[in-house]
Symmetry: C2
Subunit: 335 residues, 2 copies
């Protein structure tokens, strides 16, 4: 299957919505990583006093969303919609967080691409005139993901070198029609791409073609090239997938250069034994809410392309012999 | 917990999007029910030649979406976005259908409220100026749901009288900025409401307060009353939940009268042994795409309120002792 330019997948905002605030809450391992100091809060352990990992993940998402609201100083009842998603079956982290938030909920699912999908959709709701404020938040938790998707954590199964470590983290942004902050200027919504990768321990490879497809269409739609961006970050391909996405794009005539990296590569370092890097909805959301927003605010980055990447399979589809479809959703953030 | 009016949860469309076509595909039991003749296609069995129920469900959704496209006569590459969701873990029915459709995908999750959520969101994307055409489709399948949420079907577990029968069905509508057909004139997005119902065999009761909350806010926001609608259909509360929603609304001063019914009550009759009625994303989508659209087209119904209702729990949250949060999303359709 070759990558093809689809036509026009990109929407450009007439009045680009503002990122009024960003908040991130992570687990201890993420706090010990190279971006540790950029997160709003680091939990001391994976449970933070809750009775289960699942309850803890939902509370973490709630904390991130409340944090984004407080930081922006916007009264909660001025928020029109809450957009949220996560990896758990039937999205219980988001749904139970939404029960506490008491805001109109739009549940979204794009696996690890969900943060970018939420930022794209939230921007459309604001620029389309349907909302003044939209709260976007996503989460993942290493232990809820391990036991749902892989093996009981107590089993200590050896991990493949191409495997990625699911981040324990929740990130949130509050988007507004006006105010101070970087703006979301355009978004490219991805289509599902499947290059027949079946190895659930190599999801970076499964997602790489979809990320490449979205980037290719994004550049084509806006007549841009890699040099037009200070940073292009996928989230989360890991080291294996990042290299592969670069290779696929090169074959399509695009050299991504040195500005192309991945949130799943940034969040942990080599000493942390995560193999190919990190993954999970939480990963790109906390790297964006923390490090990327920090670099935009201090003036290091003027224009950023965030490409959320999702592996759209389930344990059931994998056991039934299906390959792993991927998706990439991109948003452009400008200082 | 009392129901409270939130402020303004309702968006009104300046140029109401048009429902250009609607398509429904159902299983044999649904075909034998009172609405059998209103569906676009009835499968002879639950597998339709596929190797698993999960693959069959995804194919059914694809068939419904392709059907909506063909019926409208719109070239597929003119469609800007595909909005889809289902009940399966990680929404594999939708994701694998989207792999075949090759359209930019926005994955949405609202359990059984997903069709109404998709119609609301799709209308915002069109009226907001981001799309000319949006394809919305959702599905559920009795056997994929039974083995994922309840017990192996082979076990033949006795069902509670308050339990609902998950519909095997997929419904789809193609929305357009202009053209012939009924229009979506407004939408009320719901917030999560939880009255502490814990019985997973009584989801109608768990969802009823959320439906009542959304209807209450809808009437308040638009200064309307039940008499302003020819039909108000929730989907899917079943008989137990429908009675309860009416009761909750009566306590809030609203008598819904005889125009209030439920898609889960309409689709099967007493002889079909479904106990409290039907449920599943597919139910309200095929009842809307079939019977309700038929009655609008022949001029029987001028203004309809469709209130999708979702139970936002998972087997994991239920096993952990959590109650079942509900949500209701409403759209108004006018001839």
């Amino acid at each position: 299957m070759d990558l093809k330019r689809m036509g026009n997948q990109t929407v450009v905002f007439a009045n680009p919505p503002v990122i009024l605030s960003s908040h991130s809450v992570v687990g201890p391992k993420e706090g010990q990583g190279p971006l540790g100091k950029t997160f709003s809060r680091v939990w001391k352990d994976q449970l933070n006093g809750e009775k289960s990992w699942e309850v803890a993940e939902s509370k973490m998402l709630q904390e991130a969303m409340q944090g984004a609201i407080s930081q922006a100083g916007v009264p909660k009842d001025h928020i029109d919609f809450m957009l949220a998603g996560d990896l758990l079956n039937q999205m219980i982290s988001s749904n139970f967080a939404a029960r506490q938030m008491a805001l109109p909920l739009i549940g979204i699912y794009g696996a690890c691409s969900t943060m970018a999908l939420g930022m794209a959709l939230g921007s459309m709701l604001i620029d389309g005139g349907f909302a003044q404020y939209v709260l976007v938040g996503v989460s993942s938790h290493h232990d809820t993901a391990e036991r749902q998707f892989r093996s009981p954590t107590e089993q200590g199964t050896q991990r493949a070198m191409s495997a990625q470590w699911t981040v324990t983290g929740a990130g949130s942004v509050l988007l507004g029609r006006s105010g101070k902050g970087p703006r979301i200027t355009s978004a490219t919504l991805g289509r599902v791409i499947d290059f027949a990768e079946k190895d659930v321990n190599n999801m970076g490879s499964a997602m790489a073609p979809a990320v490449a497809d979205t980037i290719l269409n994004h550049f084509h739609d806006l007549q841009r090239k890699p040099e037009d961006y200070d940073l292009m970050a996928s989230g989360d391909l890991g080291a294996v997938g990042l290299a592969l996405a670069g290779e696929v794009l090169k074959q399509s005539g695009i050299d991504m250069g040195t500005g192309f990296t991945d949130c799943g590569v940034m969040i942990f370092d080599a000493s942390q034994d995560v193999h190919a890097g990190a993954s999970g909805c939480g990963c790109s959301s906390v790297v964006f809410a923390g490090e990327i927003m920090r670099r935009i605010k201090v003036g290091e980055l003027k224009r950023v392309l965030l490409v959320g990447s999702g592996a759209l399979h389930s344990p059931t589809s994998a056991l039934q012999g299906e390959s792993i479809p991927g998706i990439g959703h991109a948003v452009v953030i400008e200082a």
